[in-house]
């Protein structure tokens, strides 16, 4: 299962598919990031019960790794898997945004 997601992510990165997220959906994703991810990571992504999601602390992971975490969660921590609500393509888009400083 994890392997399948990883393969999808790598395929997505190598194609230009990430750009194809509808602007309305982009707005929804940013809203979700701010208000729902924000309940643990802080509305300004400065961290809370979960770690800060700013470019500097995220530097040590690739966008694919971050997308993987968004989709599958982190066992042993409160980070849940978001794949019922976010597609691999959308997760990668979010991950890239997080790495390139986004202020929701």
């Amino acid at each position: 299962m994890l392997k399948a997601i990883l393969v999808t992510l790598i395929t997505l990165t190598s194609t230009a598919a990430v750009a194809d997220i509808h602007p309305d959906r982009q707005t929804e994703l940013i809203y979700l990031l701010k208000h729902d991810c924000g309940s643990c990571h802080g509305m300004r992504l400065q961290g809370g019960l979960g770690p800060a999601l700013k470019p500097v602390p995220l530097k040590r992971w690739t966008a694919e790794q971050l997308a993987m975490t968004i989709l599958s969660g982190r066992p042993g921590t409160p980070m849940p898997p978001w794949k019922p609500f976010i597609s691999p393509q959308e997760a990668l888009w979010l991950a890239k945004h997080l790495k390139s400083e986004i202020t929701p």
Binding site: G38, G42, M43, R44, Q46, G48, L49, G73, P78
Partner: protein, 398 residues
């Protein structure tokens, strides 16, 4: 002549109030605060100060920083609200004047606070750097700094579930290291810290019973809660409601439950399960499980109406558009409401005839009559989250 004099005096008095009843020249209200409250506007770092009786907004206050997950306590005269912000800000707000009296950035990243039994100290719990700082309620000057157990060289454990307890004490839990600490501030210059270790895995929040006797921490890392009888600290914290999830798959939790607010009704406590769409019921004292109520999603707040007859529950994403009402006698869900997406926070009026609910995505507060469970009023508030009424000033743990 005397009548004329009275009339002239009355005219003078009216003139001095700027034409608005109860408002003085300074723009401050001259009234009691017992039916007032504040509502946090999380996205804009602002507050609305409200009148509970007329269901109206009295003031808008800006400049409180990052208010995601903000909470507040009140001074014992119910005039000042102390607001704890995510950016480590501690702000003292004069609710009669609608103004910030004092604001300090006391930590990097905070999660909540408490006011001491005698009202002289404010304690703030921090995620970063981890630990609790205690301030003078009067001028927000630092009284004591209590660093948490170190987790790494730079980081202390995240402190959660901070409450006040009788005997000038504060009680809190340490998320990363699984501890409960009691801090006795009877002598403010010499805090006495009592540490209890191995209380359970990843305590994420806690509550104290309204009489100040029982402190209960919810655990994320295992099924169960950790309970401490503060009348008998020598008995140490012990696990209660262990293994409530046994035999069931643990469901993902998209928002951590909040234990602040004590759902105690008819001698039983109603508590949110973690990773199960259930409300757990336990007998006060023995803490034996007496029931489980299947609900609509992962419970976040489980709050008892002040008379204990109903428990109102809201839910984590993706079910946060729903509120359920449980009848505590039959332990049945008697009503399911869908007021809108982002039904984040609930606050009962002190005698329970009303409940105010923040509906984030509608930018509204919905007020329900708790007998009929019908919507009675709406208020416009931008991205509302926490609602805090002044009666909290006189309640241990709130």
């Amino acid at each position: 002549m005397r009548t004329l004099l009275k009339f002239l005096t009355a005219l003078l008095l009216i003139g001095s109030t700027n034409g608005i009843a109860g408002e003085s020249d300074s723009g401050c209200l001259t009234r009691g605060t017992g039916d007032m409250g504040i509502i946090v506007e999380r996205a804009s770092g602002s507050l609305k100060i409200v009148d509970r009786t007329s269901h109206s907004i009295l003031f808008h206050v800006d400049g409180l920083g990052d208010l995601s997950h903000a909470s507040a306590v009140y001074s014992r005269d119910e005039r000042y609200a102390y607001v704890f912000g995510r950016d480590g800000g501690l702000t003292k707000v004069d609710i009669l004047c609608g103004k910030i009296t004092k604001r300090v950035i006391q930590g990097g990243n905070s999660i909540g606070g408490a006011i001491s039994q005698d009202g002289t100290m404010i304690a703030v719990s921090n995620y970063e750097p981890g630990g609790v700082k205690i301030f003078s309620a009067a001028d927000l000057s630092l009284v004591a700094d209590i660093p948490a157990t170190q987790v790494t060289e730079k980081k202390g454990a995240k402190t959660v579930g901070l409450v006040d307890a009788p005997g000038q004490r504060f009680v809190f839990s340490l998320y990363d290291t699984g501890e409960i600490w009691l801090v006795d501030m009877s002598n403010p210059s010499k805090p006495v810290i009592e540490k209890h270790q191995n209380i359970g895995l990843q305590p994420y929040d806690a509550l104290i019973s309204s009489d100040g006797r029982y402190y209960i921490a919810g655990l994320f890392g295992e099924d169960g809660l950790s309970m401490m009888d503060l009348w008998h600290p020598e008995q140490k914290p012990r696990k209660i409601l262990e293994n409530y999830g046994r035999g069931n798959k643990k469901l993902p939790v998209y928002k951590m439950p909040h234990l602040e607010g004590w759902a105690m009704a008819g001698g039983e406590a109603f508590l949110p399960a973690m990773g199960q769409h259930q409300v757990l019921v336990a007998q006060r004292g023995s803490w034996k499980e007496t029931g489980r109520i299947k609900v609509h999603g992962q419970p976040v707040f489980v709050m008892a109406r002040p008379d204990g007859r109903q428990v109102w529950v809201n839910f984590a994403f993706p079910n946060n558009d729903t509120i359920q009402v449980i009848d505590t006698e039959s332990k049945q869900v008697v009503k399911t409401l869908t007021p809108g997406k982002g039904a984040l926070h609930m606050e009962f009026s002190p005698r329970g005839e009303e409940i105010w609910i923040s509906i984030r995505d509608r930018d509204e507060i919905h007020v329900f009559n708790t007998s009929t469970m019908e919507l009675t009023h709406k208020l416009s508030v931008k991205k509302p989250s926490g609602i805090f009424f002044t009666n909290r000033a006189h309640q241990t743990g709130l």
